[in-house]
């Protein structure tokens, strides 16, 4: 799960050389426009456009991208089913009676659900665009520039560094347990998992103490250096993003009342 984390993909992204600010502007701009759009057109358009950008010039593997999109499907599926039955408006297209419960799906509910689905699609892809093209290390720099409290950013950097170390430990402990036939019965599985978590907690704590030492050895006085340089803002790519976002705004204005379902 973590070996194939999105951050390592971002480290190798074909868009790595583009200024992080430019990328964030594109992704966050699209995200906000998708979110406030009352019609499904903008999210659909933006989702498809960004996907093509990622798969085309971004050289992302389509198989991997597909898997990524399917990830949240379970949550969406379950929630949409609830929404379909609950939301109202319009005329009923399908009705059934389960025991005493009257269940109906109305055209209004379908229309609403489609809008939500499209919004999830558009917004998620905007989020994926950030995570697949901009490594955390670049984001930390951006956060510092954006005046996010320095303690918070420092803590995030330490967390980022240690996530990989602790994960490796977790995997090793898990392997050792499985090799000795751990997790073989449900009750025993809970026990094994608790042992793993406890061990991990203790080794994390000692790792934290070692970190204090390591920082002391380097004369720590409260400064976390930032990355030496980030890619400069390039006018063409920046303008391209501005033009694209303006276009998206235009589409938003034109399709305020568009619906895809009667």
């Amino acid at each position: 799960m973590i070996e194939a984390n999105l951050d390592s993909i971002a480290q190798k992204s074909a868009f790595r050389h583009i200024n992080p600010g430019t990328k964030l502007l594109l992704a966050l701009g699209s995200l906000i426009l998708c979110l406030i759009s009352p019609s499904p057109v903008v999210p659909l358009f933006s989702g498809v456009a960004l996907s093509l950008l990622l798969l085309g010039p971004g050289k992302l593997s389509p198989l991997f991208y597909g898997k990524l999109l399917l990830g949240p499907a379970a949550f969406v599926g379950m929630s949409i089913v609830v929404l379909l039955f609950m939301l109202g408006g319009g005329t009923a297209v399908w009705q059934t009676q389960v025991w005493w419960l009257n269940l109906s799906i109305t055209t209004g509910a379908i229309r609403e659900s489609i809008i939500i689905l499209c919004r999830v699609f558009g917004c998620s892809i905007s989020l994926f665009f950030i995570t697949l093209t901009t490594p955390m290390t670049d984001l930390f720099n951006g956060m510092k520039k954006a005046r996010i409290p320095i303690e918070l950013v420092d803590m995030m950097m330490i967390m980022y560094r240690f996530i990989f170390i602790i994960y490796d430990q977790a995997v090793e402990i898990w392997q050792a347990q499985v090799m000795r036939l751990g997790y073989s019965r449900p009750k025993e599985a809970i026990h094994s998992f608790a042992m793993l978590s406890g061990m991990l907690f203790i080794s994390s704590w000692t790792a934290g103490e070692d970190l204090i030492h390591a920082m002391d050895c380097r004369c720590y006085s409260g400064v976390f250096p930032s990355l030496d340089q980030t890619e400069p803002v390039k006018i063409p790519s920046f303008l391209l993003v501005v033009v694209y976002l303006s276009g998206l705004c235009g589409i938003l204005a034109l399709t305020l009342t568009t619906t895809v379902f009667p």
Binding site: E3, A4, I173, M179, R180, L181, G182, S184
Partner: protein, 408 residues
């Protein structure tokens, strides 16, 4: 010998990553000692983890006991019971709050009853020399002791094959030597032992066969003398040539030892030099080697026996032998490479005593025997036994016949 592990053109790639095992075929015979050597990142650990089904190759077949590994959970349980795996880092493997609980983890998951679990744990702890440690918390143990607990945890499941990932990393030299000796003991009991390591000095004298790995492929696979003797491959695999081998190549180039001889120990190299230099002028009286089986001589006081001898050096082989030496307060001269060192002493006309366990007694005579045959000398191997008042006169049948053989 039967093939117990086999890989047939196995390949592996991390999900969404690059290929780490790029087509490997080889086999391990029952009772062999195999060393898998290569630089960090060569794929050694991944390959080892295929043996017990922790890693499933994306193509190719892994066989255990001539049966392809099935990856359903029942078969995997069987495989993991058969092929025990000891992780590099004992701290990741030992996680229960006490030594007993940790060693009992495997047997408990095999569904044994209390009685049997206790028996297995006691036996396993005895084996690694940690009786009495049952209630200790593992994080208060030394590195070597932790390693032994980790091994006991695997032994308690009674596997046929033992796989060790970097067994001697983090151990100090004495700890490493002890561990290699333990591996030898286990091998003598019929376990097949596979280790991965980058300590060529340890692997060279120990292994029956060495497999050089680089970048997910096998570079060379042969007896250690050949596998480690190829300067080009050794360099390619980011290893160093074993000191002994490097020295012998230099000596050979200068004609101090016969060409083609590949010494595996200091004894071998001394012998080779001696042979060329003096061409067997062994005229002086040789020393003797007395073997004391600590498993059968509980009633003898070694100390008393020693008092009646002149200056003698004592070596101990095996965990129990060392414990015995400690309880009798004997100062040990040799604790590793014991037989060779005693032969070296004997060649200089001095006597020595080896404390060892039943299983290793034969090892001594075999080694001395083979040395004697090769170099046409005759070193007496005596046995110190409980029932006999003066062991010096009682040469065991075996030792006599061996020594006689060597005189031929």
């Amino acid at each position: 010998m039967n093939i117990i592990l086999e890989a047939r053109d196995v390949r592996y790639r991390y999900p969404g990553g690059s290929e780490v095992i790029k087509g490997i075929s080889f086999h391990v015979r029952k009772g062999e000692k195999i060393a898998l050597v290569g630089p960090n990142g060569a794929g050694k650990s991944t390959l080892l983890q295929m043996f017990n089904g922790m890693v499933r190759p994306v193509s190719g077949v892994m066989l255990v006991g001539n049966e392809p590994i099935q990856y359903d959970s029942a078969s995997l349980r069987m495989i993991r019971k058969k092929v025990g795996y000891v992780l590099q880092n004992s701290d990741r493997q030992i996680i229960a709050p006490t030594v007993y609980q940790d060693v009992a983890f495997g047997p408990a998951n095999l569904g044994y009853d209390e009685e049997k679990i206790r028996e297995k744990v006691t036996h396993a702890l005895q084996h690694v020399g940690l009786e009495g440690f049952e209630r200790r918390p593992p994080h208060h143990l030394s590195g070597g002791e932790k390693k032994r607990v980790a091994i006991a945890g695997i032994l308690a499941m009674d596997p046929d094959v033992l796989v060790f990932d970097e067994p001697t990393s983090d151990l100090d030299p004495a700890g490493s030597e002890d561990l290699m000796e333990l591996l030898d003991e286990l091998n003598q009991e019929g376990k097949t032992v596979v280790i991965s390591t980058h300590d060529v000095e340890l692997a060279y004298p120990w292994a029956d066969r060495a497999i050089l790995m680089l970048d997910g492929r096998i570079l060379q696979e042969d007896v250690p003398e050949i596998a480690f003797g190829n300067q080009k491959n050794v360099r390619k695999a980011h290893l160093s040539m074993p000191m002994i081998l490097e020295l012998s190549q230099e000596l050979e180039r200068r004609g101090f030892i016969e060409p083609g001889k590949k010494p595996r120990s200091i004894l071998d190299i001394i012998h080779s030099i001696q042979k060329v230099a003096t061409d067997s002028q062994q005229c002086k009286k040789l020393g003797t080697i007395t073997v004391c089986n600590v498993d059968r001589s509980d009633d003898v006081s070694i100390r008393t026996w020693l008092e009646s001898r002149e200056i003698i050096a004592i070596g101990a082989m095996g965990t129990r032998a060392k414990q015995r030496a400690a309880t009798e307060h004997l100062t040990l001269e040799f604790t590793y490479g014991v037989i060779d060192k005693c032969i070296l002493r004997a060649l200089r006309g001095k006597d020595s005593l080896i404390l060892t366990t039943t299983r290793m007694v034969d090892r001594v005579s075999q080694r001395v025997d083979s040395y004697c045959q090769e170099s046409s000398v005759s070193i007496q191997v005596l046995q110190l036994q409980g029932s006999e008042p003066d062991p010096q006169t009682v040469r065991s049948e075996q030792a006599v016949s061996k020594a006689d053989n060597s005189k031929m």
